[in-house]
Amino acid sequence: MNKPKILAPVSSLEMARTVLENGADIVYAGVKGWSLRPNMFEVKNDEMGEIIKLVKSYNKKIFLAMNCFYRSTEIPKAIGIIKHFYSAGIDGVITSEYGLISLIRKKFPDLQVHVSVQTSASSSIDMAFYKKMGVTSLVLPRDMLDLSIDNIRELAGKGVTIEVFAVGDDSSHYDGRCMLSAYLFQKALPDDSTGREELIVGNANRCGYCYLACKRKCSIESKTGKLLKRGDLSLHRRIPELIKAGVGVFKVQGREFPLHLVGKLIAAFRGLLDNIDDPDKRSGYISVLDDLVELKQIIASNHLWLLAKSQSPTWKKLRKYIEKPWDNLTTGLWLKGKGKTLIRKIGRMI
């Protein structure tokens, strides 16, 4: 059995260095306007070049995230971007668009193609299609990750490497099939800076912004609540059985999260995977991940990540508090007490 790999997020050169030093096997990043994250967590073309060089110096792999559903007229531009970074040394492309997959296979036959969660490939018949298209790996929809392990084992035996979200945002609907934000919040803005024809803010499937409507307060017949009551997705407790089922790649989602948190998450997952057969060490890393995932959830549910790249005084204040306890990975007590209260308080201020 091949040792599973860790796929880590990168939204800056600094984050690339951090995740590589902490044990990532593959990293992924998107260039501005062309991947499924707000612009501020994508990198400029020249920074992407630097990141590729850094990844190569560690002898690791890098995937370019091109995972939106583009317009027909944007496909030549998308191919141009892939060509540029193919020359610079990327190892693969993450994409959702099967038209684009077909073109990548024809133009860059040695480039790995990774199918994004946006495709919501949920069964072996989808797997067979993507295998025929020549893809190398495929991420399972978040919506089906709490299915029985037999289902995942069945899919893992189909000749395409299976990837799952080890930790990431949870979503109430199938990715790539949700227009909730666009229906309720959409604005259309021309966006010259990214080369896209028009950035549709709120159109999450098409590189816009997901407003997480499913996690917002709503009312149903005068009762108020949130539709999605679950916290963020984390499968770290299920990793041993997922490895047995044949999962080949564990993805840590979080280009938008603080550098420090992402680094600690990668380090903990590395430790877990390297010590998967040692029950004591394994439970120690799982306990660390419990804390880190809880912190990630608090940051996500309070939208604190919006501050992560800003230089606002609020973020600096928060950062001063949250970095200290992480140094010795004893976040648990702090999170359940003072830290949690502080983060929630600051979250309400935004």
Binding site: S96, S123, Y130, C178, A188, E198, C218
Partner: protein
């Protein structure tokens, strides 16, 4: 109705088998049968092979214009049932199926060559290149994702010879989940189902932002209505129109179809594709959408907004937001 000489075609999507006797097949060119979001929805022909067989018998001599919408994002343990459904449809002579993923298109093409294949709006067919791949797998028509604006749809329409069924009326689907939200504790389908999804639930986010939940799918709380924009659509060369009746009362569908026929024929007969005398909006349609209308994403606006075309002082047609 002489289908050969018709300049346009109308398709109608319905979800429940019991509505079939009330469908006037003479007024439509394609019936899209079944609720692809949850086969457990009461009356959904996808719910059991017996119900599917009964439904097909009800269709009688109109099988050549009936397609069945297959379940969306089926899980591994549902594939054998879908295989049985496809065998039944093929044996009984149904015209075809609507698929929601390229994998399913490939499966139908290889194992059930008698069935014609169409794709639905959630098949993620966003570009000309995707349509070409679908065509290579024998797909002959489909509904593009609702997220595409009219310019993108026109671009695809002009660059590839393909039946594009353009939605013109009805609440349209905007999201889909494996979860049924109104079940206590959000129990995952299909472990338990009390058929709570037979009722639509209006979810209010405040400030006029609402959506309609039905089981595992979310629909627009307003009906998409492109009646006022028919001249523009016909002018752009579109000729296949779809009425989305999945969560509309079946009894109202014939009247809706009539209204659209009336307007399309009038536009075609007069040759006037810019100034149809259409009340704004048609009062006969208002009763089917009590919360008003919307245009979805055709005009690159927020999906719940309604964009009206108006005749300006200089005689030019403009959009009013």
């Amino acid at each position: 109705m002489d289908n050969e000489n018709k300049k346009y075609k109308v398709s109608l999507a319905i979800s429940e088998a019991e509505g079939l006797p009330r469908v006037d097949f003479d007024k439509i060119d394609l019936l899209i049968l079944g609720n692809p979001f949850c086969k457990m929805t009461p009356g959904n022909p996808l719910g059991s092979l017996e119900l599917m067989e009964k439904s097909i018998n009800l269709i009688g001599s109109h099988l050549d214009k009936t397609i069945v919408s297959l379940p969306l994002c089926p899980l591994e343990n549902e594939l054998s049932y879908i295989q049985d459904v496809l065998s039944l449809l093929s044996d009984m002579g149904v015209h075809g199926v609507e698929v929601h993923s390229p994998g399913m298109a490939m499966r139908v093409e290889t194992r059930f060559p008698k069935l014609k294949i169409y794709f639905g709006s959630f098949a993620n067919v966003y570009t000309v290149h995707c349509v070409e791949i679908m065509q290579e797998m024998g797909v002959i028509g489909g509904t593009l994702p609702y997220e595409l604006n009219i310019d993108e749809i026109e671009f695809i329409h002009k660059n590839i010879d393909f039946q594009i069924w353009l939605p013109i009326f009805g609440p349209f689907p905007i999201a889909f989940s494996q979860y049924c939200f109104f079940h206590p504790g959000q129990v995952r389908y299909p472990f338990k189902c009390d058929h709570e999804c037979s009722e639509e639930v209006l979810v209010d986010y405040g400030a006029g932002k609402k959506v309609l939940h039905k089981g595992r799918a979310i629909f627009s709380h307003r009906c998409l209505n492109m009646l006022k924009h028919l001249p523009m659509l016909l002018n752009k060369g579109f000729s296949h129109f779809r009425i989305e009746g999945l969560i509309l009362d079946v009894g109202s569908l014939n009247e809706i179809v009539d209204i659209f026929h009336e307007h399309i024929n009038k536009i075609i007969e007069t040759g006037d594709k810019t100034t149809p005398e259409i009340p704004a909006p048609d009062s006969r349609l208002s009763k089917f959408s009590p919360r008003g209308f919307c245009n979805g994403f055709y005009f690159t606006r927020r999906g719940m907004d309604y964009v009206e075309s108006v005749m300006d002082w200089d005689g030019r047609l403009r959009y009013k937001y």
